[in-house]
Symmetry: C2
Subunit: 227 residues, 2 copies
């Protein structure tokens, strides 16, 4: 009996969009503004988790009091700082991102986007990719109860495509994507363009790791789409 | 015959100072300004090399013409963007950095700083650490012919301390520090606080890896300073 992976479920920031480092420093600015002292690399290693989980974990690690008002202020400060970077034009699609999505479409391979971010920060990224959320399934943190590393975002994306999650590939740049992929029983494919190391992605379950979308597209017959 | 490692030779940015991500986005801004299109994670993976080597490699990878004028403009744009971040107060010593240096001094263990940067960008970092270059050996890129991954900076630091490089530890956050340590026949100790992964540092020769200076200080009897 033939069995092929039939759908691509993409993370957005760090996987299709070159925005991780800007997000990291936007969180740094937000946390500094709240008097939360934390090293930048630790923020980087938490990026891509659910925003709420991320803030909870940071505040827990720094032993500060967590209040809903403080979390709201953090989220707002982060969004302001990130959107300032975006307005300067420093946030762009990663090499090969648009080409990879166009290739999948041309091959009738279903694909979707599943991001731990909210639509307010995802919208400009989708526009930069030329992705119209009216025609492409885009699952954001607004639509599920738990974001990554819970599997909900990818499960919702597969459901919206009408595909079996167990025959789907999850493409992501972070450890949280790879853990969520395993928890969903999808197959995880890592990309280095979010700044995690190769071994970090493999150790969290990536069955294959590429540099970026362009590198994945060059090697796509290694993982899918064989005809 | 007893043999102990007797000196600590430190990298600066990413090892004692939490400045790598700010340097990365400062280089991104400088390269954008020159019309050089390169993903941010690739800049991160080159940080800590000799600035000239770094710029040469980026320009080679992007197949642009390399002129001395363009390199000068890149260096100036980077320094301007980085110093803007510094002026905002976002660049601070890493946890435990000051305490580790104070501990070494209290134990009469010689230490020095060896950075691929120039004194113009290193000076505010040294001030933040409370290090006075008049009393502590600080080797910058201005003083050697080749910066990392060449071993010159660490060799010069050991010479200035009057210690044998083969009985010295090199503490750094980047692959380039670990390669330079091996080329100098020192022993490399990696720290994760520059954002490289654990395996990347081990694979480039770190014989031990800690999270940051505070973590190294907590475990210092693993690598040195046994009494």
């Amino acid at each position: 009996m033939a069995r092929r992976d039939t759908a691509f479920l993409f993370d957005l920031d760090g996987t299709l969009i070159d925005s991780v480092y800007q997000h990291v420093l936007a969180w740094k600015e937000a946390l500094d503004g709240e008097g939360v002292d934390i090293s930048v690399w630790r923020i980087h290693r938490k990026i891509g988790m659910s925003g709420g989980l991320f803030a909870n974990m940071l505040l827990r690690e720094t032993a500060l009091e967590i209040t809903p008002a403080r979390l709201d202020r953090l989220r707002q400060r982060h969004a302001d700082a990130f959107n300032r970077q975006h307005a300067q034009g420093s946030v762009q699609p990663l090499p090969g991102a648009r080409e990879l999505l166009a290739y999948l479409t041309s091959q009738d391979i279903p694909w979707a986007i599943a991001t731990s971010g909210r639509m307010e920060t995802a919208a400009p990224n989708l526009a930069a990719l030329g992705v119209d959320p009216a025609t492409v399934p885009v699952i954001t943190r607004d639509q599920v109860r738990h974001a990554k590393p819970d599997p909900d975002l990818f499960l919702a994306a597969a459901a919206q495509l009408g595909v079996d999650i167990r025959q789907s590939l999850v493409i992501g740049d972070s450890v949280w994507d790879m853990l969520a992929a395993q928890r969903a029983r999808a197959l995880g494919v890592g990309v280095l363009c979010g700044g995690y190391g190769h071994a970090e992605l493999q150790q969290s379950g990536a069955f294959r790791v590429y540099e970026d979308p362009a590198d994945l597209l060059r090697h796509i017959d290694e993982i899918a789409a064989r005809d």
